[in-house]
């Protein structure tokens, strides 16, 4: 609900908002420029003295005005010809043109009405309303995604466009909401939906009838400091019934032109003051610095528009059409999908196709709006659910838990829950887990034990499919083929072999960098942009399913490097470890922004075992700025599988690697990385206190051992692994 409140106004109003914010940002500069350029009155100068100074220079002066920036303008007539100038209050002389700036006027008209009169004003008011809706709904989404208002500025993960969108929005939202609200207020006043009472005193019926008081001697003007002045109008020459009209920050009054006495006075009305405050907050006139800040925040909107559209497109692209989707009331198998980015829909489509081929009548639906009464013929339910943020419902599953909780009784047909997630994040498959718990609490019978798919692994999915097939009584082979990015041919240039003696052949494979087209370079696609820690997808011959390997090189290194260990009965690893220089493989780059050392000088604690050294070695190779890096590396035997052994020694000499601790798991004194960590706990404590970032790469067992060791090491500091994870200071790449 909140999401669609954010999406549709955003997409529809995008162009309008880009115009309004760019013009607004440009306009925000003018009050500041005026404040800096206008000569300011000296402290304590009275209106009487100022008026006398100006009158001595321009005897025909008929009005003196002061703008909120302090700029003083005088208007006069000389021999029937009008004149005007910006005044230096120290001398009363004109120092510049008082004509309005044509650029500012043009921008103002664009900003408030698109040069379209009242129709344009209404369009802009609608734009402001859309911006307010976007700001509020966006703030709710950010809070939900971060896991609460208190974690508003929590580090972000995910694709660049989404991160950029939130990164800008969470700073700019305050200014955008303020500008939108004040804009709506001003529109309402313009269209007279809100009253603004004018406080003009009644024009005096009786005047002294005398003329010719010297303006410099008028007592009320002597008592009014220039900083309070808004305007002083002189009486018409020759009209004895006319008066001086004085407008100040306090109100408006009439002064007799013969005696200088106050004839009538009205204080500024409350609604007028309120409008002036709102006008100032919107335009920055009288609050130039605020105006600049608001203008700067407004500049974020075009970027928000582009990144928001990209996020939306990415979500749409990922969601496949499901041919032959059966009606809800007729289907025997109901697939309920909770997807955020759209990839879970792809898995649902694969499952739908395979079950339909087996004669099942299958209905696929989002988890939102779940109502068991709609599924009259259901024999089994399958929930395929991703997780959003910290265990929250993804967009197509909002309200699902509440609906289960509200059920009188669970449906008769049993349920299988399959979670989709990424093990390296805290609360892995947290939402799917909650679905399972809630269903069990209702007494919903389970078709299969709870299961998970890590990082969209087709292998995990195929394994779960076989379990489902067993329950349903047939062989179910799920071949999930995610939509692959464009693959490139990679040519092997060199290989280094390890581990042959231990029946665990492992190789560092180095491929030539494929040619990159100009378009790819511009858009950062393909092999145009990658760094150590990103993933290389290799599509093995005889299979459509890619296997992912962590990249051990940066694009600037000029080659594509991975570390591959031959898995027993592994199709892809077998093909790769048999490649000779000159042979080719096909692959693509998949960004992995969650596993990057990040910028900055904070020390790095890198922990890896076996092939997990790959990306870590890549980080060290790129560490030309000699950031402090402490590497813990677990291997079986230094003689056999000390991957990157010589490189690590060289990097240590060059200062790219500060310290190396190895753990040897074979031999008379077996030792694992977690043991090495515990031995170095004092050093780790020191590094963590200095803001160190921990990066773990390797097998699942090793990663959980490391996490346990860290739990012990962190405890005396009052820290937990989870806390570091949520701060983005403890990241894992496990397989």
């Amino acid at each position: 609900m909140i999401r669609s409140l954010h999406r549709w106004p955003g997409l529809l109003a995008a162009v309008l908002l880009v115009v309004v914010t760019l013009s607004g940002a440009a306009l925000s500069v003018f009050p500041a420029a005026e404040r800096l350029s206008a000569p300011q009155a000296e402290a304590g100068l009275s209106v009487a003295v100022l008026a006398a100074r100006i009158q001595s220079v321009y005897p025909g002066v008929e009005q003196i005005k002061q703008s909120p920036s302090g700029k003083i303008t005088a208007y006069w007539f000389v021999d029937g010809t009008p004149g005007s100038a910006v005044i230096d209050p120290a001398t009363g002389e004109g120092v510049g043109s008082a004509d309005p700036n044509p650029v500012e006027r043009w921008l103002t008209n664009l900003h408030r009405s698109l040069f379209l009169g009242d129709g344009g004003r209404i369009a802009m008011a609608v734009g402001a309303a859309a911006m307010l809706v976007l700001a509020v709904s966006g703030a709710l989404l950010v809070a939900r995604r971060a896991g609460g208002w208190r974690r508003w500025f929590a580090p972000l993960r995910g694709p660049l466009s989404g991160r950029l969108h939130v990164e800008i929005a969470r700073v700019a939202v305050v200014g955008l909401a303020l500008s939108a609200m004040t804009a709506l207020w001003m529109s309402a006043v313009t269209f007279e939906l809100l009253p603004v009472t004018e406080s003009m005193p009644a024009f005096p019926a009786d005047v002294s009838g005398e003329t010719g008081v010297a303006v410099g001697t008028i007592e009320p003007l002597l008592q009014t400091p220039v900083e309070d002045l808004r305007a002083l109008n002189f009486p018409y020459p020759g009209d004895a019934t006319d008066v001086f009209t004085l407008k100040t920050d306090q109100g408006t009054g009439y002064l007799d032109q013969g005696t200088g006495a106050v004839l009538d006075w009205a204080d500024l009305a409350g609604s007028e003051r309120l409008f002036e405050t709102i006008y100032m907050l919107h335009t920055g006139q009288g609050a130039a610095l605020l105006g600049l800040v608001l203008g700067f925040m407004a500049l974020g909107v075009p970027v928000l528009g582009v990144t928001g559209t990209l996020v939306w497109l990415a979500g749409r692209r990922g969601r496949p059409r499901i041919p032959g989707n059966q009606a809800a009331a007729r289907a025997d198998t109901i697939l309920l999908v909770g997807s955020e980015g759209g990839s879970t829909w792809g898995f649902a489509a694969t499952l739908h196709k395979a079950l339909s081929a087996r004669g099942h009548s299958v209905h696929v639906a989002p988890m939102t709006g779940f109502d068991p009464a709609r599924f009259a013929k259901a024999q089994q339910f399958v929930v395929l659910a991703a997780t959003y943020g910290d265990g929250d419902a993804p967009s197509s599953a909002t309200g699902f838990l509440e609906r289960i909780a509200a059920l009188k009784s669970a449906p008769d047909a049993p349920l299988a829950v399959l979670g989709f997630g990424d093990r390296s994040y805290p609360d892995y498959c947290g939402f799917a887990q909650q679905v399972e718990t809630a269903a069990k609490a209702k007494g919903w019978r389970m078709l299969l034990p709870f299961d998970t798919i890590d990082r969209q692994s087709p292998q995990d999915f195929a394994r779960w499919g076989r379990l489902l097939g067993q329950v349903l009584g047939f062989d179910l082979e799920l071949t999930h083929e995610p939509v692959l990015p464009k693959v490139e041919t990679l040519t092997l240039v060199s290989r280094r072999d390890y581990g042959a003696e231990m029946q665990a052949p492992t190789a560092i494979l180095r491929f030539a960098l494929p040619k990159v087209t100009v378009w790819q370079r511009l858009t950062g696609q393909g092999f145009a942009r990658f760094a150590a820690g990103d993933l290389l997808g290799i599509v093995p011959k005889g299979s459509a399913i890619p296997r992912l390997y962590s990249l051990a090189s940066d694009r600037r290194d000029g080659f594509v490097e991975i570390v591959v260990k031959r898995q027993p009965s592994g199709l892809c690893s077998a093909q790769l470890t048999q490649l000779a220089p000159g042979d080719t493989a096909t692959g693509f780059v998949r960004p992995n922004p969650g596993f990057k050392p990040g910028k900055g000088r904070a020390p790095l604690i890198l922990i890896g075992a076996g092939t997990g050294i790959g990306p870590l070695a890549g980080f060290i190779r790129s560490n030309k700025r000699q950031r402090a890096i402490h590497l813990f590396f677990g291997m079986r035997h230094p003689q056999n599988d000390f991957l990157y052994g010589e490189d690590l020694a060289a990097w240590q000499q060059d200062g790219q690697l500060t310290k190396l601790d190895t753990a040897i798991s074979r031999g008379n004194k077996p030792n694992y990385v977690q043991d090495a960590l515990r031995a170095e706990h004092a050093e780790i404590t020191r590094l963590i206190r200095n803001g160190a970032r921990v990066m773990v790469c390797g097998g699942r067992g090793m990663a959980s051992g490391v996490a346990e060791a860290f739990t012990d090491i962190l405890a005396p500091m009052g820290l937990t692994t989870l806390k570091l994870k949520t701060e983005g200071r403890y990241v894992e790449d496990v397989y």
Partner: protein, 156 residues
């Protein structure tokens, strides 16, 4: 329709006998190129004593700006009832406004004066921009304005 209403507005204000006789009068107002937004113009009539008699036309639609037409505002108390049905769009810098109204014969050669107040956003208000006696002899003779009006003519 507008001219009829104009007559009505003026008749109700004047409450003078002998108003049955009226003739079409064309008011042509040409503005200077003063380089600002569209000008608001108030056309109204005063009698020999300088007292407000009635309004002829208001160029400019937003009543919140009428207070800047200071003399008109002072005379009418800013009452929009004075200009009900006789308002039009504001007039751009350098443009010409031409309006034809049915005006009572009694307004001419009887000491009445036609005034124009002008105001432009962010620029100096200009009350009494034009003040011209209504006479049959003066018809067709251009009169210069003070600040925003280049010249004004009424033709019968």
């Amino acid at each position: 329709m507008k001219s009829l209403l104009a007559t009505l507005a003026l008749t109700t204000a004047l409450t003078m006998p002998g108003l049955a006789m009226a003739r079409p009068v064309t008011l042509t107002t040409t503005l200077n190129s003063y380089g600002g937004d569209g000008a608001y113009l108030a056309f109204y009539v005063t009698d020999t004593a300088g007292d407000y008699v009635g309004s002829l036309w208001m160029a400019g639609g937003k009543s919140k700006y009428y207070k800047h037409l200071t003399d008109w505002d002072r005379a009418t108390g800013g009452s929009t009832a004075e200009i009900n049905g006789i308002t039009g769009a504001s007039v751009g810098s350098g443009r010409t406004l031409e309006i034809t109204l049915d005006l009572a014969d009694a307004l001419f050669d009887a000491g009445y004066t036609l005034h124009i107040d002008a105001a432009v956003e962010d620029m100096r208000d200009s009350p009494n921009e034009v003040a011209v006696p209504l006479t049959t002899a003066g018809a067709g003779t251009p009169v210069n304005g003070r600040r925003y009006v280049a010249n004004f003519t009424y033709d019968m």
